[in-house]
């Protein structure tokens, strides 16, 4: 009776953010000698996320590791301040902590998750048109790397997501990402130790993806 749209609108900010994240964490053809992920290949790395929110004395910092599998999705493991794992697949999002499932959001509830996959695939193939339909992209050299700035094209997206801009620095891989929102909230993500392997996934990783899909 209540169309999924009702909740979806709420999630638009997530969609925009994830699309950006996908673009950011992936090697981009935009820059010289970008790494590309072929089907079945896996990108692993570590991250640090600082979240600057109004009303908070200090940034909320978390760090951990991530696994991005071209065919399957994203595993985001926060190690500090406490262990929690988020798995995003085309079927939806699952969060686990202390071996307990805390959140399960199907793609029906959060369609951005399904769309994320299209965007991921597009970026991997070096097809930025998908991203460019949602964002205006500007590029500028930044030292040995390139800095991309993404601005939501549609005012309703910007209003719903509160995202004002997203800046990504890319050399072979995305190095850091800054997301600016209304009210001067912003997130900074830094990525290190990124490697591409031909797979396969570890049993543990595969189990996570499988549980998120069931």
């Amino acid at each position: 009776m209540i169309a999924p749209r009702m909740i979806n609108r709420r999630m638009i900010d997530r969609r925009v953010f994830l699309a950006t994240l996908a673009a950011a964490t992936l090697p981009a053809r935009a820059f010289a000698a970008p790494a590309t992920l072929k089907a079945g290949e896996i990108l692993r790395g570590r991250f640090t996320q600082d979240r600057y929110l109004k009303g908070f004395a200090a940034p909320i910092r978390s760090d951990g590791s991530f696994v991005l599998s071209a065919g399957q999705g994203l595993i985001w493991r926060v190690a500090k301040p406490f262990a929690t794992t988020t798995v995003i697949t085309p079927e939806g999002l699952v969060q686990v902590a202390n071996g307990r499932e805390l959140t399960r959001l199907s793609a029906t509830r959060a369609p951005f998750l399904a769309r994320l996959f299209d965007v991921l695939n597009a970026v991997m193939a070096g097809d930025w048109t998908q991203v460019e339909t949602m964002f205006a992209v500007t590029r500028a050299p930044a030292g040995g790397a390139e800095r991309l700035t993404l601005t939501p094209r549609r005012p309703e997206d910007a209003a719903a997501s509160r995202i004002q801009s997203i800046a990504v620095t890319i050399d072979r891989f995305a190095q850091d990402v800054e997301i600016r929102r209304a009210d001067d909230d912003y997130d900074r993500l830094a990525f290190v130790d990124q490697t591409v392997s031909a797979g396969p996934l570890s049993a543990d990783e595969q189990t996570l993806f499988d549980s998120a899909r069931s």
Binding site: M1, I2, A3, P4, R5, M6, I7, N8, R9, R10, M11, D13, R14, F17, L18, L21, Q49, R51, L53, K54, G55, F56, A57, A58, I60, S62, F66, L74, W76, V78, P81, F82, T84, T86, I88, L93, Q95, A97, N98, R100, L102, T103, L105, S106, A107, T108, R109, P111, F112, A114, R115, E156, A160, S161, R162, R181, D183, D185
Partner: protein, 786 residues
């Protein structure tokens, strides 16, 4: 005198014809709602309204999936198909997509009342003392990569309870995922794009079914011309109803044609003239016409079921015509003599039928009442037509019966009377006992309407596909919640919901939709606010703030620590004012103060029994199963018909005794009663299931069976071959025109046909027993057999 009466009757028929014609030009309103057949007092207006509402939501729903390897082809194909159907004016798009503004208003409203809103899972967590899980979840979301968390949200809702509540709002999207303006779902074969339509007509109306099916077929052809690889799956009550109706129509037109042709051929062959046929058809035609006029006058509205069965019962009037016409095989050449010979039998035949059907009118079931009234009027009219008009229209030359015809006509009688067959008669006795024993042992009675129709395989396969792909299963069953006011109704829904949660965990149900999930009762909101305060905020908020480094915000009414006295629950009116009321319309049956009725709809019902039992002890909550109700309706009709049928035998008996005396009365009534009594056992022994339709057939068999017996009884010990031939002819035409329906694949039609077939044969075979009746008055046959 007779001439005057015939003229008067002609005038009456013309008046009836004119009346029917006038009514027909106004649009003959035939009732088609099967629930209208229920006795008035048993019809609960609340259930009725709820049924209408839900059947509108479920019965008028059409779900289509357009699939293709290419996502774009699937989506544009769905657009094309939907547009074509909407353009036809027979369907509108049912998927009401709320505007972004409305959703914004609704979320803002929820935000302002967040302190009393909890998702079902969070409420259970707090009740069970697992607040730590909520704390952990909030932290996980704050650290997660995709989180839309911002400072303002965290300050107002540090445990992120509102996003959980919003995600818990009921949707009817199943596994479908929004993609642009369309919901889609993917599987290995590609993408399926979803169309949800609401029919703009009655799905059970035959002409609407035809028009929609034609529009649908054309639209699909059109689609596949553009996208040859695309396939379409459909789900909807209309498709089943249409397939059922089409099957029934096809069969009735084939079987009906064959049987009518056979009956017509028989009559023409026998009389070597078309005139008797014209006369008989006229008698029935006048009967139906006058019956229609009279019942329309009495009831104003006639139910289509009454029309159907009533017309069938009037079909028995063909016998009256045949009895008369068969007199052309006697030595009587004058129409007056011919009528004189049969009028006693005809009168008694009519009287017994009228009395028999009058017994059926002693019923609270309006359908049976209408059938009875229709039949009584129709048979009387047919009788009057034969008696008053036939002598004037009689152009039948006298004929002789061949030796073979005479032999055939005497066969049944000889079986009972010939001394040489004494041993064969005794041999039949153990056979009959055996049939009764086997029949009694195997007898099954079926009232389940789902069994009365054979469901086409291709539709079932498409339905299975749609349900597998979308996770949507339109469930006709629902709960009806009744309360004096809205708050109580919401509380009752919540009590029901708490139990349904268990049914979902047990796998009996996929989900449920109720107003209380959109607007919790004020009581529940108070409880939730107290739970959050005592189990979450007081023990965990300070720690949470420290962990995150969150500053203590200004106190505000909508903040996490709203003071109890400031708590203002969210109201239904406020939610409705956001424009969300239209989304909840199919859940509100009535919101009159004093009589609030809400429907609780079920998704993916697996075990109806288990879910039904869930609500057993809940106040004001009822499980409604329309299919079950229909089954009960048929069972009720079957039992009533059987009872009244037995009663009608008692009513007929005095009439027969009056004419034939005690012994004769027993013989004349006994022969058809024995035939009708044996029929269910023969059917059961042959593995047939009995239903309301079998009982209706037996009522008809009794009516004509008494006629057969009366005609034999009128003849005395040595019946004329012409009379015996008339009875044989009557039985043969009845078997041809009704008994052939036994070959129908539509269960209801088959049940009727097979009962007719067996019953008519038995009634015919038994009828000569009545010649053993000694008439009390007058008239041993004055002439010897020719």
């Amino acid at each position: 005198m007779n001439r005057v009466l015939a003229f008067v009757w002609l005038m009456m028929v013309l008046v009836a014809g004119a009346y029917v014609a006038v009514r027909a030009t106004e649009g003959l309103s035939l009732q088609t709602d099967l629930m209208a057949l229920l006795p008035r007092e048993a019809r609960d207006p609340a259930v009725q309204r709820a049924n209408d509402l839900v059947s509108k939501a479920v019965g008028r729903r059409v779900i289509l999936l357009v699939g293709d390897q290419s996502r774009d082809v699937a989506v544009s194909g769905a657009d094309r198909l939907e547009q074509a159907l909407v353009r036809s004016g027979l369907m509108k798009t049912a998927d009401e997509r709320p505007s972004a503004e409305m959703i914004g208003r609704l979320i803002a409203l929820y935000g302002a009342h967040r302190s009393g809103l909890l998702s079902a899972a969070d409420r259970i967590r707090l009740q069970d003392g697992h607040a730590d899980e909520i704390v952990t979840r909030a932290l996980a979301q704050i650290y997660a990569p995709a989180s839309p968390i911002d400072g303002r949200l965290l300050a107002a809702d540090p445990f992120l309870l509102l996003p959980a509540f919003l995600a818990d709002l009921p949707t009817s999207a199943g596994r479908l995922v929004p993609d642009g303006n369309r919901l889609v779902v993917s599987d290995r074969s590609g993408t399926w794009a979803f169309i949800s339509g609401e029919l703009l007509g009655e799905p059970l109306q035959l002409d609407f079914q035809d028009r929609f099916a034609a529009a649908y077929d054309a639209a699909v052809r059109d689609l596949q011309a553009v996208a040859p690889g695309a396939s379409v799956r459909r789900l909807g009550a209309l498709f089943y109803a249409h397939a059922g109706a089409r099957e029934a129509m096809d069969e009735i037109s084939i079987i009906g044609f064959v049987s009518m042709a056979a009956a017509v051929l028989l009559v023409i062959l026998v009389f070597r003239a078309a005139w008797p046929l014209v006369l008989c058809v006229m008698a029935i035609g006048v009967g139906v016409l006058v019956a229609l006029g009279a019942t329309l006058l009495i009831f104003d509205q006639l139910h289509v079921v009454a029309l159907l069965f009533g017309t069938t019962l009037i079909g028995a009037a063909v016998d009256y015509g045949l009895y008369y016409c068969a007199q052309s095989f006697s030595h009587r050449h004058m129409p007056r003599n011919r009528l004189g010979h049969v009028i006693a039998g005809l009168t008694l035949g009519l009287a017994t039928s009228v009395v028999g059907y009058a017994a059926m009118a002693l019923t609270p079931l309006s359908g049976l009442y209408q059938i009875a009234a229709f039949s009584v009027v129709g048979l009387t009219a047919a009788f009057l037509t034969v008696v008053l008009w036939f002598p004037w229209l009689d152009r039948l030359p006298p004929r002789r019966m061949s030796a073979m015809t005479t032999g055939l006509a005497r066969l049944a009688w000889r079986f009972w009377m010939a001394p040489s067959l004494e041993r064969a008669r005794w041999a039949a006795a153990p056979l009959i006992v055996a049939v009764i024993v086997i029949g009694a042992w195997r007898m099954t009675v079926v009232d389940d309407v789902r069994r009365q129709q054979s469901l086409p395989r291709d539709l079932l396969a498409e339905q299975a596909d749609v349900q597998r792909l979308t996770g949507l299963a339109g469930t006709p069953q629902f709960f009806l919640v009744q309360a004096p006011d809205r708050e109580t109704a919401l509380q009752r829904e919540e009590a029901l919901g708490d139990r349904l949660t268990g049914a979902i965990a047990a796998g009996d149900l996929a989900g449920w939709q109720a107003i209380a999930r959109v607007v919790p009762s004020a009581k529940r909101q108070q409880e939730n606010a107290a739970l959050v305060r005592t189990r979450l905020i007081e023990p965990h908020l300070a720690e949470m703030r420290t962990t995150l480094g969150l500053a203590v915000p200004d106190e505000s009414a909508s903040g996490p620590v709203a003071a109890p006295q400031n708590f203002e629950p969210l109201t239904f009116e406020a939610v409705a004012d956001t424009g969300a009321a239209s989304l909840m319309a199919n859940l509100i049956v009535s919101d009159r103060p004093g009589q609030v009725l809400h429907a609780v709809l079920l998704d993916g019902l697996v075990r109806a029994d288990a879910v039904r039992s869930v609500a057993r002890s809940l106040d004001g909550v009822r499980f409604i199963d329309p299919v079950d109700d229909l089954t009960n309706l048929f069972a009720q009709y079957r039992r009533q018909a059987m009872l009244l049928f037995a009663l009608s035998v008692l009513f007929i008996l005095p009439l027969i005794i009056l004419r034939y005396g005690w012994r004769g009365g027993v013989m004349v009534t006994g022969a058809p009663v024995l035939a009708v009594g044996l029929t269910p056992f023969v059917l059961a022994a042959a593995g047939e299931e009995l239903s309301f339709f079998s009982v209706i057939a037996l009522v008809l068999v009794l009516s004509v069976g008494v006629d057969y017996a009366v005609f034999f009884a009128e003849e005395g010990e040595a019946p004329e071959p012409a009379t015996m031939f008339a009875v044989l002819l009557a039985a043969l035409t009845a078997v041809l025109s009704n008994g052939l329906l036994a070959w129908s694949r539509v269960q209801a039609v088959h049940a009727f046909g097979i009962a007719m077939l067996v019953g008519l044969v038995l009634a015919y075979v038994m009828a000569p027993l009545a010649t053993r009746a000694k008439r009390r008055r007058q008239s041993a046959p004055s002439e010897a057999a020719s």
